[in-house]
Amino acid sequence: MILGYVGIRLDHFGLEFGAVKPIRDLMAGPAILIYEDDESQAQALVAAFTRAGFQAYNSTRADEVKEMIESKKIRYLFVDCLLPGMSGVDFVASIRNQYPSEVLDVILMSGIFTDAIFMKDAIRLTQAISFLKKPFGIEDALRLVKADEEPKAKSEYIPRKALYSIFSKDKISLREKRKVIESLEEIHGYDLPFIYSLLIESKMSGHLNIVGKNGEVSGISFSQGAIVAVDIADQETLLGNLLIESGFVLPEDLEPFISVSSPKKMGERLIHGSVLSPHAFNIVLSSQMSIRLSRTIINSSVTINFVETEVEFTMPQIDSDSLLKFLHDWVAGKITLEWLKTHYLQWGSQKLAPGPLYSDSNPALEMPIVSSMQDFVKSVTSGLTVNEMADSQKFPEESFYKAIHFLLLKGLLIILESEKIVAQKDLSKYLKKIETQFQGRNKFEVFDMMARITSVSEAEPQKVYSTFLAMIGENKELDAPEAKAARKKISDLAKESFEFARSGNREKLQEEMAKLQLEARLKAQSQFEEAKNSLQRAQYAVALQLIEKAVAVEPGLEKNKILLAWAKLGLLESGVSKPGVSLKSVQMDLIQVAPEDKFDALFSFVTGLYCRATGDLLGAKKAFEKAVNMDSTMIVARRELTKTVGQSGAKKDVMNRDLKDLVSNFFSKKK
């Protein structure tokens, strides 16, 4: 019985997004209550439902209806919109507030309020499953309750879950994929890699328009399986700035072209004016696209729409193979462990399996976040669930979540729809996991997390709450006292957070939190700046401490992984032994550098330090040279280059340089 219950409950983590189906439904036919002041209509419905094998009741009084919802375990409530004293919509809203955890499917009825907008609003406010316009045939009402007897027929569609299940579907048409994207409302910036991957793998063409919380519009253009343009409202990555930064053009060369307006694009004009070579232009354009694309992956919510249209296939472009590296770097360096753990809670009891694009020779399996874990691919495709894998602790937690997410983004790994029956002890673990995630968080943050766990938009607090309660099941069906305690703690917190979310105080707290966060961020920024100065002065231990403190408050500090690696390499070179400071940890830091930061001279400089620490003097020399080329004022890079050249006794040898660097330097105008 217990296993049966858990198995059913966990359906709601499933990909078909089922609404809650309590165990009582399995023991007896669903109970139906008609709340209708026209008794003849109500009795006709009761008679029809009874003939069809349901337990049906009717009432004309609000207090009686409320009492029956509890005592009769009502599953379906048919409510007339026009009731004496209170509208049916207001009554259902009050029921939802009073019994937020009650599994109750509401069907609204009206012969007067039949305007489409009213019906939509009423359905939204009451979360009704249907609206029956009077007069309606009895078979219409029967269809609604009978449909629920078929598995999955009455499932609730949650677009974000549908998105992540796309690669699990054997046959899914382009139209269906487009429809899933169209149905998405607000998503998280960390969901964008999946959408990019999906659009590329599906070879769809069109413009993905993205609007950030601040109202800024950006966009990605796709053509036949490749990204061909990335547009963000950002001054730093304007072509002129990048050309100067990369040394292809001097500011004074650019000036005449900026001051004169022309319908022609800047690049075209510069090439035409022999200020820039087409090759150098392509290098910079490609860098611009990469940096801009990475900047769209933000830790904040965004709204999107996809305009399907023909888009010219132009160069440079990012195809499926090139996107692989981006996906890897975003997962490794941008997407946080906290986000991933919350994201995968909803699929915890589902099995992982090789996806349709899986092959042993797929280059994704060779990427560091996967290949750094021995036997990872074998384990992850051995039929275990996400929770079983995570709980086995066979792999470091962060690496595990990042690796499965990376493979899922590429469609190499899928989460099977079928549920695994979960034992009580595993359910306890699951509840403990949620409890840990909630720990130390305020109501605002807990509600935010509930929305992410359930994949329901924060704008629908009632739906977030009821879906969440369905996910954690009911106390009475739990055996272990610690599971009961965890469940109670979680549900209390969830209730408080839900009430808070509805109260209107949410916005107020959000503002207060933003203020506090700003203060903490400013402090972190200042510690971070201090750390940079310490690094310049070769005070590596101090720098490391400051960076760690700053990043604990502000994980998104620009280039923090690079500076962290620099501090560690400094300590290693000085022979200072410190826990957590090793070449392996430096390697992990460098893997996690955000892609846009890899175009920085500092990254080349630290790569040089790393190469030298591993004995690769030639690699070190190349990296230091690159850093100096990118930023001629970088004295530390010049110093380390001289030191490395001295160590290797190497001479400037054109044969040992990268062709790309060589060509770039040839075209570079920087002195």
Binding site: I117, F118, K120, E182, N209, V211, P263, I304, T309
Partner: protein, 157 residues
């Protein structure tokens, strides 16, 4: 005709603007002055696509209209999507007079856009969809949008 075309007819203080093609970074709206117009009526039925650069240019351009009433006619889905998602895409003093709603026939797999006109298929209070839309083979077609999302702009009106 290029990939973008715009025609402006001035009738008294009313500027009737017809736009067709692609609205993107190559469109130079600054050549088409709308400041000083008493009223603007934009027929967008021929707009084929719009990207983020186009959206930004559009908002900037319509900002020149000042407080002049703006009416959008024959909006395709791609325009309604932007109206719903991007603040300022339909100016505060703007109204949608007609727009297309996609329908789909499961039986024949065909898609069709049905024009909803203010006062007929929709009003300021809501939508009154046609009782039935059929494809060429006579199969009943379903509305092919997420209604809560697609008709959201009507609630803002």
């Amino acid at each position: 005709m290029g990939k973008f075309d715009i025609k402006i007819d001035k009738v008294g203080d009313l500027s009737k603007i017809q736009i067709t093609g692609v609205i993107d970074e190559d469109v130079d709206f600054s050549q088409h002055k709308i400041s000083g117009s008493g009223k603007l009526e934009l027929d967008l039925g021929g707009v084929k696509s719009i990207n983020s650069c186009g959206i930004r240019e559009w908002i900037k351009w319509l900002g020149d209209a000042g407080q002049a009433p703006v009416t959008y006619l024959n909006c395709p889905k791609i325009i309604i999507d932007q109206v719903n998602m991007v603040k300022g895409f339909l100016p505060a003093q703007g109204k949608v007079a007609s727009f297309y709603v996609p329908y789909y026939s499961e039986s024949s797999g065909t898609e069709e856009n049905v024009l909803f006109v203010h006062g007929k298929e929709f009003t300021d209070n809501g939508v009154n969809p046609p009782a039935e839309v059929k494809d060429k083979e006579g199969n009943v077609m379903e509305m092919d949008v997420v209604e809560d999302k697609y008709f959201r702009f009507l609630k803002k009106a």
